[in-house]
Symmetry: C2
DNA sequence: CGTTCCCTTGAGTAGTTTCAATACTTGTGG
DNA sequence: CCACAAGTATTGAAACTACTCAAGGGAACG
């Protein structure tokens, strides 16, 4: 049996999986794997990179979850979640300073690479450069979906959408299980992702539970029928560029050469 | 007197103005200008590029405004606005298909360049490549701010924020006037940007008008005291990467070499 | 076995939507 | 020039959604 991507590339095997990883040659996968110069583990709620902080390295999320968040005096706003395989602050390569914090959600394992190394790749392998660019734009596409989520959905639908997104992204990298997934999320996190108070989030979760769509208990999300939850949360995975109308897998020759 | 950027580069003179345009050499500015192979004008509400549509060119907005929008059966969701100097669908270079529509807001003038040309630049000028990447990430940063806008603000503050953002972005490219700006926006557009109904948006605008913070009348936005409006709309322009804690202008040598 | 963090519930208030109706503006053709 | 149509803006009232303040319950960890 073929070894899994993760076995062959223990640090970056999940990068772009389910999306354009198929468009990467073995050499390119090896190049990406070799970018990681240092591996580190963090406890929960640790800040990997803070807003406004100058930085000269980027972080690959190997295991666990992370959040993009902005903290003000009185509140925290979550603007994104990251799952294994995500180059969580690759955009810092071009931006130099982030407008938000990157914080761990539960224990995580990450790999660091320097911007120096990335710059080399940029100049020597235009194809990989483009894939890295693509991966940062994937985050932007997710941001747009979140804006729409806020614009159109009520609290219970928003969480449903969040559940669907995380699940689907885990599916892409081969970590999505059947029936239930476990995360370090608490209700306050979900509230901060959906722009509601924790109290209201609790009521939204109760509603989902009562209606049998999804059950959230201390980080474990149980969903009897994902299709139904996706319908309820108006979730169409196309924006994740893995499949559907926006997917590129069938047209790898187009543009990514 | 020195000719303005726009006089010297009539098609792309506003590109990255107020942000990293200062980091571009004269040759680079000329290169970008030469990318534009075709200039076109459009009437209002025309679709430049539709969701899911394969594409092999990108569009520079020269004059006027554009919207990033997603249309469903019953509603339209606006996820971004573009002003002159914006490479409105540069990200289609890496994504190939957009997850949203790009539509004109009022009459516009645009310039087209092929992905073929962009690819050349990518491979021959890593510095420019990086600036182009930067410009797409700027959009992502704006998306994140919009998510926060939705998460934390009430309708009147959200419009206030939209007004501040558009104004500041016009400032950057030298089109921001004193006291008032004129746009082709209607109340329905503002509602679609803020995730409210047009009716509620009307009440929000009335509130702004009554409180003396801002007056919106048929596209013309009048603001007696921008600082005050910015405070009300919790608007901190840092996320636009032109100045403030995230600005790079004083540190051009860092990273962008 | 108690502390701490996380979750739950109730009641009153604030913000938003919906439905319904009414004006104002602008452009067009008679 | 007026009449009309289409698009845009405004207002009122009732229903819904979410927030705040306040109190209590449960699980995990030492």
């Amino acid at each position: 049996m073929m070894k899994s991507e993760r076995d062959r590339f223990p640090l970056t095997g999940h990068f772009l999986m389910g999306r354009l990883r198929d468009a990467m040659s073995e050499e390119e996968k090896a190049t990406v794997e070799s970018l990681i110069e240092e591996v580190a583990e963090f406890e929960t709620a640790e800040e990997i990179l803070g807003r406004g902080q100058l930085c000269d390295r980027s972080t690959m999320l190997i295991d666990g979850f992370m959040l993009r968040a902005v903290n003000t005096q009185d509140r925290r706003y979550i603007v994104g979640v990251q799952v294994p395989g995500d180059f969580v602050d690759l955009h810092a390569f071009a931006l130099k300073r982030l407008d938000h914090d990157i914080v761990t959600l539960g224990r995580v394992k990450v790999g660091f690479t320097t911007h120096e190394r990335i710059k080399d790749v940029m100049q020597t392998n235009p194809h990989l450069a483009r894939l890295m660019w693509f991966s940062t734009l994937l985050d932007a596409a997710i941001h747009r979906e979140w804006i729409m989520k806020m614009e159109q959905l009520r609290a219970p639908q928003r969480v449903a959408h969040v559940f669907c997104e995380i699940w689907k992204r885990l599916d892409f990298v081969g970590l999505g299980e059947e029936g239930k997934i476990t995360t370090p999320l608490i209700q306050q996190d979900l509230a901060d992702m959906c722009g509601t108070t924790a109290i209201h989030m609790n009521r939204a979760l109760t509603e989902l539970r009562d209606s049998g769509l999804a059950d959230f208990r201390r980080g474990t999300i149980t969903v009897p029928d994902r299709k139904q939850l996706e319908k309820y949360g108006v979730f169409d995975p196309a924006y994740l560029y893995g499949e559907g109308v926006l997917g590129l897998r069938g047209e790898l020759s187009i543009g990514m050469d």
